[in-house]
Symmetry: C2
Subunit: 302 residues, 2 copies
DNA sequence: CAACATATTAAGTTTTTCTTAAGATGAAAT
DNA sequence: ATTTCATCTTAAGAAAAACTTAATATGTTG
């Protein structure tokens, strides 16, 4: 940007275009019509073309004026909203958090009533999105992310680790018996997800030389759990997403071992917002819930 | 709005928050650090709380500052983009037009090469949307709409009328013969769309006393044409969407008569943009194409 | 054609914004 | 601990901008 935005002129233009009158625009801005006229004229001079056609008593937008208007209106609307929000920021007890839909549905949602009981004053708004939102450039206060723990420019607090657990329907476990060795895998159809191939589980336990082919790859972890529940085979599930189904008996752990996931859950926020009371309260509550969330009831390979 | 936006102060705040420094923000705005300091201080005074924590040599955003920043940034970004566009509006040969996906695919797209040949300088961008875009508040130059011809605040030029034509697969027409009377409808499965019930065709031809029940209602006109093509029955199609398939033999006109549709196609724009050369060129071209588009090859009931 | 409503221009005034120069304040170095 | 440095802040005056008033132009309406 070499030259500064002509803000006053743009504001005058917006007012005139909105009211389609210099006089009423001037009244709305609490200034004289002459002032508005001069501002608009100055803007036209810098752009090099007219924004209005003057027809003596009335005016109308030129094509260029009509093109300029929507953008300018959107810009000022956003600024007005910003000031509006800022003016009421003391009584804003809202807390907006973004996270993956799978985590929200399978882990957080069942625990949420507890949070509302502990903090009835906080108006928590959860947004399930599979896109990674830009916390610095958005209105979100925080996000729950699954990853390595390093996000540049953001503070991350570790919530809990995840585990790779083979799961299947209870009937199938009954019929085929638990997986104890690499050879035991032979009898099973293995269900892979995009992000968690079975080799991530096989190698840490049986060595790098052991491998399984990646067939029946489903697009996400939740789908693998569902397919396993329906008896389509052994799914390599993330414990965070499968735990509830294991506890209520719809899924069974198919193997003796679980392997620690490389990634884990974090509460992530811009440094400044980390210090907000509501964010701290939510983070503290998440941490106690996370601590109370037991690892899978099998042997754990870290 | 009782009080005007503190635009200069907001601009100073944005610059400081973006650079995380009063000094470099001042340099970016071509003013002294003192000026920036005063502006930010004034903004903090009107809001009643600090936006930055001053740590002597460095600063950081407060939580409220971090909440304010994204909105303010978005607002100014929009204004900067507006000025950017406006500065290059002379060499902007872009033309953006919104319309229904069905019209785009089945009527406009096959004719488009002709437009590009006639106007190679115009960079036409088509947007298929089933929502009615707000032309006054968007960057679209124009839209093609199917309707009665009256849109308040917008100028509409009539392109062509549409016709309700019963269509079916050629084999079915062979087997059942053309529909000539109300009684002939007995033998047919009638495929309705949401917006064009068969009674719209039956009543003008056979009188208000004749009616057919509305079974197998599909959700849009294009779906009806496809179902008819597959031999599922007689669909009441809009000629504009079915014509291409009739000409290439995939569909046949199932009846002797077509009935004029209540609605017709229009090119719609904000008055000011109607006068843009590119919009006129596109409108003129559409009009000649529309004139060259023949009505269905059956008897016409207007 | 006169009366009216509206926009524009020019000159002068007010207000805002900015600069300069002299403090503060905290971090890093001695 | 003290100096040094980099940074932000404050206060007063200067510059720039935005605004007002009053006279003028330009279509529209009765």
């Amino acid at each position: 940007m070499s030259t500064r935005l002509p803000l006053t002129a743009l504001r005058a233009f917006e007012a005139v275009a909105s009211h389609m009158s210099f006089a009423t625009a001037a009244a709305a801005l609490y200034v004289s019509p002459a002032a508005v006229s001069q501002q608009v004229r100055a803007l036209e001079a810098t752009l090099g073309y007219p924004l209005f056609e003057r027809l003596g008593s009335s005016i109308r937008l030129t094509a260029q004026g009509a093109q300029l208007l929507p953008r300018v209106k959107r810009g000022f609307d956003e600024l007005r909203r910003a000031m509006e929000e800022a003016a009421h920021s003391h009584d804003a007890t809202q807390l907006t958090v973004s996270m993956l839909a799978s985590f929200l549905q399978r882990w957080l949602l069942p625990r949420l009533p507890g949070f509302h009981r502990a903090h009835p004053d906080i108006d928590l708004r959860l947004s399930a999105s599979n896109l990674v939102v830009d916390l610095a450039g958005s209105d979100f206060h925080a996000a729950i992310r699954f990853g390595g723990g390093r996000w540049p420019g953001l503070t991350a607090t570790h919530l809990f680790d995840d585990w790779l657990v083979p799961v299947c329907s209870p009937e199938q476990l009954e019929r085929l018996g638990p997986i104890r060795s690499f050879a035991d895998l032979r009898g099973w159809t293995l269900l892979h997800s995009d992000t968690e191939p079975w080799n991530d589980w096989v190698r840490p336990l049986f060595g790098k030389r052991c491998q399984v082919p990646a067939r029946s790859v489903l697009d996400d972890s939740a789908a693998v759990a569902i397919a396993a529940e329906r008896g389509h085979g052994a799914g390599l599930a993330r414990w965070s997403l499968a735990a509830a189904d294991v506890y209520n008996g719809r899924l069974a752990c198919a193997a003796e071992w679980a392997v620690r996931h490389r990634r884990s859950y974090h509460l992530v926020a811009v440094p400044a917002k980390t210090r907000l009371p509501a964010v701290r309260a939510f983070g503290d509550w998440l941490l106690t819930e996370a601590t109370a969330f037991p690892p899978p009831p099998v042997k754990l390979r870290r």
